[in-house]
Amino acid sequence: MNDKIKIDKLYALSSENRKFSFKLPLKNKIRIGKRDYIVQLRSDEKLGTYILWKNRKYPVEIVRSRQNKYEILFNDISYTFTVETPFSLQRLKVINSRKGMIDSEVIKAPMPGKIIEVLVREGSSVLRGEPVVILEAMKMQNEIQSPVNGRVTKVNARPGTNVMKEDVLVEIKVE
């Protein structure tokens, strides 16, 4: 980060494209309407890390982070944010406007488990909602379905093998 550039604001963009802006230097106060509320990050032996806000404690955890991307678990709900400066936000807008439609989709394992059956091959065409893989987890067989209409470009899942959560099972070119 070049300290010659004056940054007066940061933006946290949620994965659903909601934008939260925070003035720098960052304070432990958040303004709602005309009032400032104190937000505190704390930790103790019994509760672990938590945020104290308006007299209520919320469990909080940092699940993952890379560069400017953060996955936060707040009161049992996951949120993913990218934190942008006014400059990077501007750049992002330009990039997004140039980028066309997303044309390929990866299907990831929603949970750890064992691949029971692979129902598609490379080159197969699939319809939205069509099952592509049967994944067994906690004794339940789960159909993993294609989220899009398209053509299978790659199959990573192999029957009988175990997969981790988020492992890419199948890649599909959207048609």
Binding site: I7, L10, A12, S14, F20, F22, L24, P25, L26, K27, N28, I30, I32, I38, V39, Q40, L41, R42, S43, D44, K46, L47, G48, T49, I51, W53, K57, Y58, P59, V60, E61, I62, V63, R64, S65, R66, N68, Y70, E71, I72, L73, F74, N75, D76, I77, S78, Y79, F81, V83, P110, M111, P112, I116, P131, E136, A137, M138, M140, Q141, K165
Partner: protein
């Protein structure tokens, strides 16, 4: 022979639940220590622990009839309680116990067998005059037959495992084109789960309510019911929230359904605690679904509104005592709701999220009962179910129970795995739920998302992400995050669970 020592052929919260009552009755208990959970909380409730950690077998000991019999004999336990799941509905296990002069705390092997085989149960219900959904005469041998029978009954139909239960081996089929695939999946799942691939087909009742009756019978021929439980809040046939009584029943319908439940139990000379499950359609017609020949996960809601300890009743009945209460003695008082707090990620299709409980605390208000086998430091292991705790809340009526439930949900503190808590926070605020206007399709059809967050929660999470970014990238000394009162904390450094994308 009277029960003086019980082998608990189970683990987790139900093992503790049984041992609590045994302790009150001054009966000794034996729990089994396994290598998967050598420090599990249930062990601390037992008078005696049988160390089974040396066994490296892939099959859990709780599913191994021969080993369990051996353990019962070796520890001089003269009774076995199977809990739920595992061997709780194995006629073979019940019979083996009897063969070895061990008291099985549950129904007769014959009743378990007949009710466990859904085809036999169907026939019994038909001959007892219990209303049933239309279905196949027997098991279906192949896809072609399945298609033919489904045509006759009319779609939608449901494929069910003959030896099934708990939602496994079940598939709803709405179109003939889906039949082949669904038939094969259901059959395979059934074979895996129950060692029996046979399935049958029934007319699928669209959007019913799931209403079940708690039955109590003794070896002297007395059978009564303890009212109903409303278990319509479920996902993929897995119950998530149960309540007792049900707002869908009035006294007249309760009496009618209760009488039918008792009648089907009588058909197998049922004794011990059991549950008769019905589907109730929007015209208030009800259909017999199945009878569960065990104590249910959701039994506490019945205990709360009847004041009857079901485990105590099971033990007394196994001792040959008669059920002293008559049907007219059973009064339903107030309302109870149970939330199954599972280690599941409601934002990722309810994927199991096993892990270690880093911190754990539960509300202790007088209107709350917690049944759990978990404490801080415990692990949720992927080999077993994902249950963390059952939060059971009471109120003088349904409105108060929901209000209390809402408060209690905000007092549960769990860190270490994701849980179904955000879903329950959503359900107790949902107007259809509050109005009692919901069916088994509620979770899949009436909810747009599966979690509730208050207006500011996402903003606070965004603030935290921004704080981390500032610490990492800007490293200005002037950044002033106030940690007064709490320990000074860099969340960045302290967090152990941090991983890279």
């Amino acid at each position: 022979m009277k029960i003086n020592k019980i082998l608990i052929a189970n683990r987790g919260e139900i093992a503790i639940r049984i041992m609590k009552t045994a302790r009150l009755m001054a009966i000794k208990t034996v729990a089994i220590k396994t290598s998967l959970e050598p420090n599990a909380m249930y062990l601390s409730w037992a008078d005696e622990i049988f160390d089974h950690t040396g066994d490296a077998s892939e099959i859990p000991v709780f599913l191994d009839v021969e080993k369990l019999i051996h353990i019962a004999l070796a520890t001089n336990a003269n009774a076995v309680h199977p809990g739920y799941g595992f061997l709780a509905e194995s006629a073979y296990f019940a019979q083996k116990c009897l063969d070895n002069k061990i008291i099985y705390i549950g129904p007769s092997p014959d009743a378990i067998y007949k009710m466990g085989n859904k085809m036999i149960a169907r026939k019994l219900a038909l001959t007892s005059g219990i209303p049933m959904a239309m279905g196949s005469e027997g098991n279906i041998s192949n896809e072609e037959e399945a298609v033919r029978i489904a045509e006759k009954i009319g779609y939608p139909v449901i494929i069910k495992a003959a030896s099934g239960g708990g939602g496994r081996g079940m598939r709803i089929v709405r179109k003939p084109e889906e039949m082949e695939r669904m038939f094969i999946t259901a059959s395979k799942e059934a074979e895996k789960a129950f060692n029996d691939p046979s399935v049958f087909i029934e007319k699928y009742i669209d959007n019913p309510k799931h209403i079940e009756f708690q039955i109590l019978g003794d070896t002297h021929g007395n059978i009564i019911h303890l009212g109903e439980r409303e278990c319509s809040i479920q996902r993929k046939h897995q119950k998530l929230l149960e309540e007792a009584p049900s707002s869908a029943l009035d006294d007249k319908l309760r009496k009618k359904m209760g009488a039918m439940a008792v009648q089907i139990a009588k058909a197998v000379d049922y004794y011990s605690a059991g549950t008769v499950e019905f589907l109730l359609d929007s015209d208030r017609n009800f259909y017999f679904m199945e009878m569960n020949t065990r104590i249910q996960v959701e039994h506490p809601v019945t205990e709360i509104i009847t004041g009857i300890d079901l485990i105590e009743q099971q033990i007394r009945i196994a001792n040959g005592e008669a059920v002293k209460m008559k049907q007219e003695d059973i009064k339903l008082n107030g309302w109870a709701i149970e939330c199954r707090i599972n280690a599941e990620d409601v934002q990722a299709g309810f994927a199991p999220d096993p892990g270690k409980m880093e911190s754990f605390s539960m509300p202790s208000d007088p209107y709350v009962r917690i049944d759990t086998g978990i404490q801080a430091g415990s692990s949720i292991v992927s080999s077993y179910d994902s249950m963390i705790a059952k939060l059971i809340v009471r109120g003088k009526d349904r409105k108060e129970a929901i209000k209390n439930c809402k408060m209690a949900l905000d007092k549960v503190w769990i860190k270490g795995t994701k849980t179904t808590l955000p879903l329950f926070r959503l359900i107790v605020r949902n107007q259809k739920f509050i109005d009692g206007n919901f069916t088994t399709a509620f979770i899949e059809k009436d909810l747009e998302k599966y979690y509730y967050n208050s207006d500011y929660e996402e903003m606070l999470a965004a603030w935290l992400a921004t704080t981390l970014f500032v610490e990492e990238n800007l490293q200005e000394k002037s950044i002033n995050v106030d940690f007064e009162n709490g320990k000074e904390l860099s969340p960045w450094l302290l967090n152990k669970r941090i991983t890279q994308f």
